[in-house]
């Protein structure tokens, strides 16, 4: 444990609260403190539009970062992200089916079902006997994602007028997010707490599976739990906001550099940082870029930063 880790987490908590306040205050419509109480319209903008959107962004960011951290620990590979086990392609297919066949009704539900179903299929493809070798898991994730993407492309090809809607959804964003979506997203916190309970086990798993067994970790059970909980939180995130890239990949990375590899600190730090990152990305897009999909923003900042990290890793 690095001595700075608790301080970092405290700082991040403060930053999150400040970020939420700022994000509520910022937007295309200028808002002053007194107008908040004098104008009913302003109150409506803050309470019904901005606040649920900020909270949803925070929850989704938290979900992606925690699931990403868990997957990187499980696969012992810093390149893993929450979508590696088919979550995003499954979710995308589910959402697209809802848009194409049911004119968008039940989209979040189908997206969540799609994400969970994809993860289960990947799990059962990779399982041999009582074991799931992580390499096989990784490869079956890639294979299934490719297949689902093909189905998705087919649906988009036949989509006609709803193509635009699908495209927007695929890039991910927080339009039309209401309090309803916030309630849908709340179980994310439960899932994250669940994952956090296995922080010490994930630490040990990052040695090697055999070594973890020697230290009293039931490795196969741990894999099942981590996969299920990660798919659960990432599936909700996908259902609420589409597949937003790079948050789940970059955040664990950066936080590992700052707080160290101990998952008891890494999980909360990543959760807070993921929330902050997505709040600001979303604020940026709705304030300055006319509500462009937030996935574009995260990718624009995330990818170059990732390359920078990769290069600096190679130097050391």
């Amino acid at each position: 444990m690095r001595r700075t880790a608790p301080i970092t987490i405290l700082t991040l908590t403060c930053l999150l609260l400040i970020s939420m306040a700022c994000a509520v205050a910022l937007g295309p419509t200028g808002i002053s403190l007194e107008s908040l109480f004098s104008s009913e319209n302003t109150w409506k903008i803050v309470w019904d539009i901005r606040l649920p959107r900020v909270i949803a962004a925070a929850l989704v960011g938290c979900a992606l970062a925690v699931a990403g951290t868990a997957m990187q620990g499980l696969f012992r590979n810093p390149m893993a992200d929450p979508y590696i086990i088919g979550t995003s392609s499954g979710g995308a297919l589910g959402a697209t089916i809802a848009i194409v066949l049911f004119a968008g009704t039940g989209r979040p539900v189908l997206a969540f079902i799609g994400a969970m179903a994809a993860t289960f299929i990947v799990y059962f493809i990779a399982r041999s006997g009582s074991k799931i070798p992580v390499e096989t898991l990784l490869l079956s994730g890639v294979a299934l994602s490719t297949l689902l993407s093909a189905l998705l492309s087919f649906l988009m090809y036949t989509a006609g007028r709803s193509l635009h809607q699908i495209m927007f959804w695929l890039m991910g964003g927080f339009w039309n997010v209401s309090w309803n979506d916030v309630f849908v997203a709340l179980p994310i916190l439960l899932g994250c707490v669940g994952i956090y309970l296995f922080a010490r086990d994930v630490n040990i798993l990052s040695l090697s599976e055999e070594d973890a067994t020697h230290l009293g970790v039931n490795v196969e059970r741990l894999k099942q739990i981590l996969l299920a909980l990660s798919a659960f939180v990432a599936g909700i995130a996908v259902a609420v906001a589409g597949s937003i890239g790079f948050v789940g990949l970059i955040t664990p990375h950066v936080m590992r550099l700052i707080v160290g590899p101990d998952h008891r600190f890494l999980f909360p730090a990543a959760a807070l940082a993921g929330a902050i990152l997505l709040i600001w990305s979303d604020t940026l897009t709705r304030t300055f870029t006319n509500d462009m999909p937030v996935g574009i923003i995260t990718a624009c900042f995330g990818a170059p930063f990732f390359i920078y990290l990769l290069r600096s890793r190679m130097k050391t």
């Binding site: 010490r200 630490n203 040695l207 070594d211 020697h214 230290l215 009293g216 970790v217 160290g260 008891r264």
Partner: protein, 418 residues
């Protein structure tokens, strides 16, 4: 009640049998070494004992409890494993890695207590890594990392410590460091360790288990297991087995027979005694010479060596001089020999004839071999033996030191020069 008992276990990977009908036990506080050639199943046996590998049949009992009835955490409190070397993906501090050893004691909702910290501190102290506690596991050397893994295993407070060639990747000083630590721990903990290095196994283990072709080939003390016959049988290698000059434990010296065919179709007679000929008998045997020796007393070490190697040897019963019958046998051997070797043996009245008879063979190449220490013959005949030697030398007998020179000085039956 044995700390660990293995009863008739079979292990296979898929259709491939790895271990068959393995039965043994470890006694409380001993160091039990598992040895055997590559592919004999040593590591798999250890993995079966730590339940990383499932077995097909048979039983493993820890303190008379079936291994399979223990939960993961319970097992980790009883049995700790020090692996060969591990790559640690993320950059943990040494103290964090040692604290992982406490994992089976700390509940899911709890965090480590002061007692856990104390146990880790003591473990690090025992494994001599306390000064590294704050350092990154990536920034320390291989030997230090191995000691950290020992500290982690000790933090588990196990009854049984399993080591899988825990020192194989280290240089010899670190190997000895680490095994000394293990030796001090034994007594309180029962240690079962796979060894690659037979000499380290011979010194550090109380008992050895020798595996061959998936089965137990021999068990017993190092002296009982590391015999010349067993080593030749198991490793298909000529080796000298000698007591280590300081510890008295068996020490294995391979006969580096890279000229293994030079002696093909060549006969050599060795005049030796008092153990001075044993090493070269092995060497000549390994180099494919047809070797005869004698005349020797049946109580002589060299006679024992010749018998073990299956060499033909002219011998007399104890406390006898050389009889005319033996002497004529000796002459027959000398007649057919391509060369004669005389070692720096002790010479008395009883075996002086062995030397004197050589004066009748002026045409034969004679090599006076004095070993690597260049020892002189011990003459108990009042100068007669020395006189014979001087005469032989004046006729062209060569003084030779060391085994390699000896082989070079002998007539070559087969040349494998490339």
């Amino acid at each position: 009640m044995k700390p660990i008992e293995i009863i008739d276990i079979d292990v296979s990977y898929g259709a491939k049998k790895i271990l068959e009908a393995i039965t043994f036990h470890a006694d409380t506080g001993e160091i039990l070494g598992i040895i055997g050639p590559n592919g004999s199943g040593k590591t798999t046996l250890l993995k079966a004992m730590s339940r990383v590998v499932a077995r097909d049949s048979g039983e493993i009992r820890l303190d008379n409890r079936d291994l399979d009835t223990l939960g993961y955490r319970e097992l980790a409190r009883q049995v700790a494993v020090v692996p060969q070397d591990i790559s640690i993906g993320f950059d943990y501090a040494v103290r964090d890695v040692v604290m992982m050893g406490r994992h089976p004691y700390i509940g899911r909702l709890a965090s480590e207590t002061l007692r856990d910290v104390e146990i880790c501190d003591r473990a690090m102290h025992l494994a001599n890594v306390a000064h590294l506690a704050g350092m990154s596991i990536h920034s320390i050397s291989g030997g230090e990392r191995q000691r950290v893994l020992i500290a982690r295993a000790l933090a588990q407070e196990p009854k049984i410590l399993l080591l899988d060639e825990a020192t194989s990747n280290l240089d010899v000083s670190h190997q000895v460091d680490i095994l000394n630590i293990i030796k001090e721990l034994a007594g309180k903990i029962t240690v079962v360790s796979v060894f690659h290095d037979l000499n380290l196994a011979a010194y550090y283990c109380d008992r050895l288990l020798l595996l061959k072709d998936r089965r137990v080939y021999a068990t017993g003390t190092p002296e009982e297991v590391l015999t010349y016959e067993n080593i030749r049988e198991i490793f298909q290698m000529e080796a000298l087995v000698r007591p280590h000059p300081l510890t008295g434990k068996p020490y294995i010296l391979p006969v580096y027979a890279h000229q293994s065919r030079v002696g093909t179709n060549r006969r050599v007679h060795v005049v030796c005694g008092g153990g001075t000929g044993s090493d070269i008998l092995h060497l000549l045997y390994a180099a494919s010479f047809t070797v005869t020796c004698g005349v020797l007393n049946v109580l002589d070490t060299d006679y024992g060596t010749a018998m073990r190697l299956g060499l033909s040897c002219i011998a007399e019963p104890p406390f006898h001089g050389i009889t005319p019958g033996s002497l004529s046998d000796l002459r027959k051997c000398l007649d057919s020999a391509d060369a004669i070797i005389v070692t720096a043996m002790p010479i008395g009245r009883g075996n002086l004839d062995n030397l004197q008879v050589l004066l009748d063979y002026p045409k034969k190449p004679i090599l006076l071999y004095s070993g690597n220490s260049n020892s002189r013959m011990e003459d108990y005949t009042g100068g007669e033996a020395d006189a014979v030697l001087t005469e032989l030398e004046s006729r062209g007998a060569l003084r030779i030191e060391g085994g390699e020179e000896l082989l070079a000085g002998l007539p070559q039956g087969y040349s494998d020069q490339r």
